[in-house]
Amino acid sequence: MIRLDAIAKRFPNGVEALHDLSFTVARKEFVSLLGPSGCGKSTALRIAAGLLKPDAGRIDYPDGKPEIGFVFQEPTLMPWADALTNARLPLDLKHMPRGEAETRVAEALARVGLRGFERAYPRELSGGMKMRVSIARALAARPQLLLLDEPFAALDEITRNGLGDDLLRLWREDGLTVLFVTHSISESSYLSQRVLVMTPRPGRIAADIALPPGRDSRLAPATIEAQRKIDDALNKTMAA
């Protein structure tokens, strides 16, 4: 679905964010990009989305350029618009007829558990609900590739777990390809099929860990085992 090859990025202030970063995400795969804070995870994700140009390296889409959905760390909603209008933004920008767009967005909001909140303004919603609107907005564009930048980092654990389960369900139902940036070992061990561990800055891939099946819950032995593997890889990277 997407291949990043030898990506390098240096910011104007001289900080070298990424150096020789390469990885592939296959169709319908759920991949986590994990690393210590400041290692360039978000930069890599922005480059994958085409929001940022790399200084060197290539981005390929072997199956053709996919429709991309992006979820930021913050809900990034328009405070002046209700949930429906917010989630409709990608469709409005594509000039989709209002009626069709509203049907599609109402469905997306219902899928993230926000039926009945279509006319609520962001300030009337909780942090978790705002993030749900943000996910509905990404889904409304019917993406093939969903990029998420630590979307649950600012939420409490109960909300975070609920949203994680919802994300898994949406990924399965829609056959999405997901690239999920996180700094949480437990989150990545439960959600993803594969975890890419990044080195500290300048970031590149230090370990590519395929996780075994059988991780049906956060406390399943396979999930705990996956956590141990990820933790080991991360420790090795940090020590190097």
Partner: protein, 258 residues
């Protein structure tokens, strides 16, 4: 109860001040050309009702025309600046120069260029000039303060420059624009009055001219009546703009909630 007090307390203060004023003028027999009694001001207002109302209307219309012109020009320029750094760097210094030069100092030039036969146009321009800058700077700030992630989202979904401006930047700048308009509306009135003073008596027909003319004749009660009307006009302008702000922001902006 709080709302009642908000209205009742200032009214009580006004009643006490006016009462004390009335009493003092009578008690110390202050001459009416120094300080007329409130009752004399009311009489002067009633006696000159139609001419004062004509002057009020003239001041009002010129202020509003200048203000609306300023808002339109400031909005267009702020949008232009937000779209092109080059245009901003080229023109912004002149907007600053225009603002820091006192309007009284430019007034004679403008009056000569436009001509005393088009006095209302000259006054409108001067009122607009002074109102322009606060609207421009606050709108510019608003257009620059837009959430950069929202702009990225627009780019990701292929938004055109126009779509980004219309769907994201302008709504996000709205609270700033409205705040600039509140300042601009009130100082447009100051600009109009200053310009009328600069134009001198006999040409303009607004309240400032009535103030000059009546004080020259030592009809100080009429001067006070015109002054009160000016104050009321200023308060009404501010109230209307505050109402507009509340109507547009009450659903979503912190400043209008609570």
């Amino acid at each position: 109860m709080k709302r009642v007090l908000d209205i009742a307390l200032p009214l009580l203060v006004a009643a006490l001040v006016v009462g004390a004023w009335q009493w003092s003028v009578a008690h110390w027999q202050v001459p009416p050309y120094v300080l007329p009694a409130p009752s004399a001001i009311v009489t002067a207002f009633l006696n000159n009702f139609s001419s004062l109302m004509t002057a009020l209307l003239a001041t009002f219309l010129i202020t509003i025309a200048g203000f609306l012109g300023a808002v339109a020009a400031a909005l267009v320029l702020a949008v232009l600046f937000s779209q092109s750094r080059l245009v901003e760097r080229s023109l912004y210094p002149y907007a600053v120069i225009l603002q820091v030069t006192p309007v009284v100092a430019i007034a004679p030039l403008i009056l000569i260029w436009i001509g005393f036969e088009h006095i209302n146009l000259a006054l409108t321009l001067l009122a607009g000039l002074i109102a322009f800058f606060p609207v421009l700077t606050s709108t510019m700030l608003g257009l620059k303060s837009v959430d950069s992630n929202l702009m990225d989202l627009g780019r990701l979904y292929g938004a055109s420059r126009w779509q980004r401006l219309w769907k994201v930047q302008l709504p996000s700048a709205l609270p700033y624009l409205l705040s600039g308009m509140k300042t601009g509306g009130v100082i447009a009135l100051i600009g109009e009055v200053t310009a009328e003073f600069a134009a001198g008596s006999g040409t303009a027909s607004g309240l400032a001219w009535r103030i000059t003319e009546s004080s020259n004749r030592l009809e100080i009660a009429t001067t006070f009546a015109a002054l009160v009307l000016l104050a009321i006009l200023g308060v009404v302008l501010f109230a209307v703009l505050s109402l507009l702000e509340w109507l547009l922001l009450r659903r979503w902006h912190e400043s209008a909630i609570g």
